[in-house]
């Protein structure tokens, strides 16, 4: 892993800052507003659950939940959905420690689940997440929120809420850094050492 | 081959039919017992005709030995040739070849064949096969008890009086654990001056035993073969031998306790003829090699601890143990390529014995070359009562000789050994000392790693 980026620090050569710490906060706030609006949350019709996909989807989901509570006064249950056991590329990478899923006590049956992840790339992570979700219950509907959509989809998947669309080349790498996991917030575009087609970088 | 052809080493075209009772072979530049300046040895009529410097006698063959050490040919009191019964593991022919290549001129073939060598027919068969092959003197060992069952004596006298003239009896692989039967065997064999070679293992103490009882066996979960199972039988047998006046030979001593007991026993007044052997593998290997459960290391008695190995070396050096015997035990691949407990115990030994003895005894200075001759040739010949083996390298003595190149080291490869089987525990190990040539009654049987068969024989 590359060394941590301090907020506001100039990106080293080969890196470009896509979102600053302030941008990240504003983007999350905007997505929160969109979720409130699109799910008609304040009408109280729907039971909305935010599920973050580890590693960085988990804190993102918590932050979204906090924003939503702040803006709408509605507390939205949040949880973590680990998809490692559902990946279709397990044999192509060293195995990784599992993070147990933690779902809200009320479960996901009948809920509108918003999956939250940092970067949308090939779409395989989301597909795995949908598989994992299916084993957890039967939501009424599933939506997807991502901080960055970098293109290069390999599956017919799109996000309902996108923080920032970034055209990238496959040889580049989008690195989302969050205070909870990396010490500071930022999104960097980096040149990749060895391009790995179709691998979500998380 | 009437004319002496000189080449850099052995002269004489082809490897077949080198030497013979009527031929004269001149060994140039050899060092008897590795001592002094090189001399020449002329062999004629199956005996050493002359020893001196610059011999130029008319010879059929001249072997330029370049200072190789010459010793009396080795005698192995403990060999398994597997014939009859397990010719897929070894035969008299392949075992004889391995022996000749290892520097041996006589081997004792253990009785645990199938059928068991517990009668005159089988021992004569083995003896005759040995003669036909003609590479070493093959002396069959007769079983002590019928069928190795340990319940009644085999026809020891008949075997002794047979053409094979059996003088060593053993149930090797099994212990004659019944003390009364052992007593009778020791007494009865006294009539024809034979020796009873005991595989000392109290079977009640080694039920399902798989490895030396100690730290390694405990860690590996292998049932222990405790040292007292050997030591208690050795002590008992010595006392029975002392009481009866019989001759006891203790096979493959493996523990420091046995060595210690024998040292004490043999220091006692009136202690009768008790002799003992140690195998090359017990002089070198410990149970530390068992970790991968490869049954190539499975042997009975088992490989023991470091302290035992060193005690055995000291005991061989000080004469407590008389000789080295290989316990050459070939096993077919399927009997070793299995789980540990299902594998047969035993290791190849004939072609590696000299190297191991040089490595463990000569190189550390525990024995000199005379000592090597003693433990590999003179003592075993004396124990078995062989008049023409283990004799001095001297004029008029039988030309049963081995030439050892002490400088060359070689790497053991099981697949390259002459045995049918390849179960050597020394695979990949580099050993000192190469057998340059072996000579049986004036005829070269092995030379430069190749077998030299007598003319007119296979």
């Amino acid at each position: 892993m590359a060394s941590r980026q301090q907020a506001g620090a100039a990106a080293p050569a080969g890196q470009r800052e896509l979102l600053s710490a302030g941008d990240v906060a504003r983007t999350i706030a905007r997505i929160a507003h969109q979720i409130i609006e699109k799910t008609a949350l304040d009408t109280g019709n729907d039971h909305v659950v935010l599920l973050g996909v580890p590693t960085r989807g988990a804190p993102l989901a918590r932050r979204l939940g906090a924003c939503i509570a702040e803006f709408s006064g509605v507390t939205v249950p949040t949880g973590v959905l680990d998809i490692t056991l559902y990946r279709d590329d397990l044999r192509k990478q060293p195995n990784r420690p599992l993070e147990p899923s933690s779902l809200p006590a009320e479960g996901v049956d009948g809920a509108l689940v918003v999956l939250v992840d940092d970067v949308l790339f090939s779409g395989r992570t989301v597909r795995s997440a949908l598989d994992a979700l299916r084993d957890q219950g039967r939501p009424r509907a599933v939506q997807l929120a991502v901080l960055v959509d970098r293109g290069h989809r390999e599956l017919p998947i799109r996000a309902d809420y996108v923080g920032k669309n970034v055209p990238t080349s496959r040889s580049e790498d989008v690195a989302v850094r969050l205070t909870e996991t990396d010490g500071a917030d930022s999104v960097l575009l980096r040149r990749q050492e060895t391009p790995t087609a179709g691998r979500e970088t998380r | 081959m009437n004319r002496a052809k000189e080449t850099s080493n052995l002269s004489g075209g082809g490897m077949s039919g080198i030497g013979g009772p009527g031929e004269r072979i001149l060994l140039k530049d050899v060092r008897p017992y590795g001592e002094g300046e090189p001399v020449d040895v002329l062999v004629a009529g199956g005996v050493i005709a002359e020893i001196g410097s610059g011999l130029t006698a008319d010879a059929d063959e001249i072997l330029h030995a370049d200072g190789a050490v010459v010793l009396p040919g080795f005698v192995d009191l403990h060999t398994h040739l597997r014939e009859p019964g397990r010719e897929d593991a070894e035969t008299v022919e392949t075992g004889s070849a391995a022996a000749a290549l290892g520097g041996y001129t006589a081997v004792f073939a253990m009785a645990n064949t199938d059928p068991v060598a517990d009668n005159a027919v089988i021992v004569e068969h083995v003896w005759r096969r040995g003669r036909e092959v003609g590479l070493v003197d093959v002396h069959p060992v007769g079983a002590v008890t019928a069928g190795l069952r340990g319940s009644e004596l085999a026809e020891l006298g008949t075997m002794a009086r047979s053409a094979a003239k059996v003088r060593v009896f053993s149930d090797d692989g099994r212990c004659v654990d019944d003390p009364l039967l052992m007593r009778r065997a020791l007494e009865y064999t006294g009539a024809f001056g034979a020796v009873v070679a005991q595989h000392a293992e109290d079977p009640r103490l080694t039920v399902q035993a798989q490895a030396h009882e100690g730290a390694n066996a405990a860690r590996l979960g292998l049932a222990g073969w405790p040292a007292p199972a050997e030591e208690s039988i050795v002590a008992r047998d010595c006392m029975l031998a002392g009481h009866t006046g019989g001759r006891l030979h203790v096979c493959h001593v493996s523990t420091s306790g046995t060595a210690e007991f024998l040292r004490w026993w043999r220091s006692q007044d009136g202690a009768t003829a008790v002799s003992a052997e140690v195998t090359p593998h017990h002089l070198l290997l410990t149970d530390d090699v068992l970790g991968n459960y490869d049954p190539v290391h499975k042997v009975n008695p088992p490989l023991r601890a470091d302290a035992d190995v060193h005690a055995l070396r000291r005991a061989l050096a000080d004469g407590t143990l008389d000789c080295v015997a290989t316990d050459h035990a070939p096993h077919a691949a399927q009997d070793k390529d299995c789980e540990w407990s299902a594998a047969r115990p035993g290791m190849l030994g004939l072609q590696t014995a000299l190297g191991v003895v040089l490595h463990t005894m000569l190189e550390p200075g525990l024995l000199d070359w005379r000592g090597v001759a003693r433990v590999m040739s003179e003592h075993p010949a004396r124990i078995a009562g062989l008049a023409d083996q283990g004799r001095p390298v001297a004029e008029g003595e039988p030309a049963n000789l081995v030439l050892v190149d002490p400088e060359t080291r070689w790497t053991v490869r099981g697949a390259e050994l002459a045995s049918v089987s390849a179960n050597t525990p020394f695979e990949g190990m580099e050993l000192p000392g190469r057998v340059m040539a072996t000579m049986l009654r004036g005829r070269i049987t092995a030379h430069e790693g190749k077998i030299a068969r007598a003319e007119g024989e296979r």
């Binding site: 680990d82 056991l85 559902y86 397990l90 044999r91 192509k92 990478q93 060293p94 195995n95 420690p97 599992l98 993070e99 147990p100 899923s101 933690s102 598989d131 084993d135 957890q136 | 798989q210 009882e213 100690g214 730290a215 390694n216 066996a217 405990a218 860690r219 590996l220 979960g221 292998l222 049932a223 222990g224 405790p226 991968n292 459960y293 490869d294 399927q334 390529d337 299995c338 789980e339 540990w340 407990s341 299902a342």
Partner: protein, 311 residues
């Protein structure tokens, strides 16, 4: 990344902790689920090859494999491994050629799993030791450790007594290694006839009296007394053994409040463990069985779900 799981001795603390953490995560993942099935090992073939009867271990591995969506095939090799019939090597090579990605083997010969791994390594088939003779039973030690971690937290500095037939027990050997690797102290309690010579190299204290040990331990592992040992002269009688080494209500009272009683099963009630102890909340016997599935899932995950090893 481990290639085979042959012994607890070969596990370092990081690997062992990794497996235990995974087991814990899997347990949380499956908690309260109706569909206890993960697609992780879809398309992988796992063969259990049991040369000894052991319903509990075989079923535990089978459930573990199936919950991970592996195809699990049970081969019960009847009779012993000895000269009769096909050799262990040929059986293993056949299964490997037929497409087994992993062979889980239970065998009466110590070292059988090591031998299998040697034969199958080239083919890329992975081996899990499900108990080899008197040698090791690494997944039992892992599930015991998982159970102890649940009850006691981290094992560093904890003191665990292992009581019973240490000589013949593969469970004891595996537990001694793993507990020590995880930082626990081990005290072994058995009559001298059931203590292997060479035990002084195990890094554990050896005691012959149970009672004085109990007050100072955080857990007691009772080993099963096998029927054949009872007649092997290792101790005078089942009654005497039970009196000296059985875990009963009185001895339970000598243990600290928090201490756990473990038994690998199957239990001989009334022999090494009294029925009321076995059923008491202090005993973790059922948790052990439950954790067994998760630990074995974790082992399969670590062996089979990782990066493909270039064959």
């Amino acid at each position: 990344m481990i290639r085979h799981l042959l012994s607890a001795e070969s596990l370092d603390a990081d690997t062992a902790t990794g497996v235990l953490d995974t087991a814990d995560a899997l347990k949380q993942t499956l908690l309260g689920r109706e569909v206890r099935k993960l697609p992780t090992l879809r398309g992988r073939t796992v063969v259990t090859m049991f040369y000894e009867n052991s319903t509990r271990t075989r079923v535990s591995f089978e459930v573990a494999g199936k919950w991970m969506s592996a195809d699990v095939i049970n081969v019960s090799a009847t009779g012993s491994s000895t000269s009769k019939g096909e050799s262990l090597r040929d059986t293993a090579l056949t299964l490997s050629a037929a497409g087994a990605d992993c062979v889980i083997v239970r065998h009466p010969a110590s070292g059988a799993a090591h031998r299998l791994a040697g034969w199958l390594d080239e083919a890329g088939t992975q081996v899990v030791n499900a108990g080899d003779g008197m040698h090791e039973h690494p997944t039992q030690a892992l599930l015991d450790a998982a159970t102890l971690r649940e009850r006691l937290g981290e094992l560093t500095g904890r003191r665990v007594a292992i009581v019973g037939d240490l000589l013949h027990s593969r469970v004891a050997r595996s537990n001694v290694h793993l507990l020590r690797t995880l930082g626990a102290e081990v005290v072994l309690v058995a009559p001298p006839t059931l203590v292997p010579s060479g035990v002084q190299h195990w890094g554990a204290e050896v005691r012959h009296e149970l009672d004085p040990v109990l007050a100072g331990v955080d857990a007691v592992m009772m080993l099963r007394v096998q029927a054949e040992r009872m007649h092997g002269g290792f101790f005078p009688s089942a009654r005497e053994y039970s009196i000296a080494y059985g875990m009963n209500e009185t001895r339970l009272g000598l243990l600290p409040e928090h201490a756990v009683v473990l038994h690998p099963g199957p239990m001989l009630r009334g022999m090494e463990i009294a029925p009321d102890v076995a059923d008491s909340p202090r005993a973790a016997v059922n948790e052990q069985v439950r954790n067994g599935v998760h630990v074995r899932m974790a082992v399969l995950y670590h062996l089979l779900a990782g990066e493909e090893v270039a064959a």
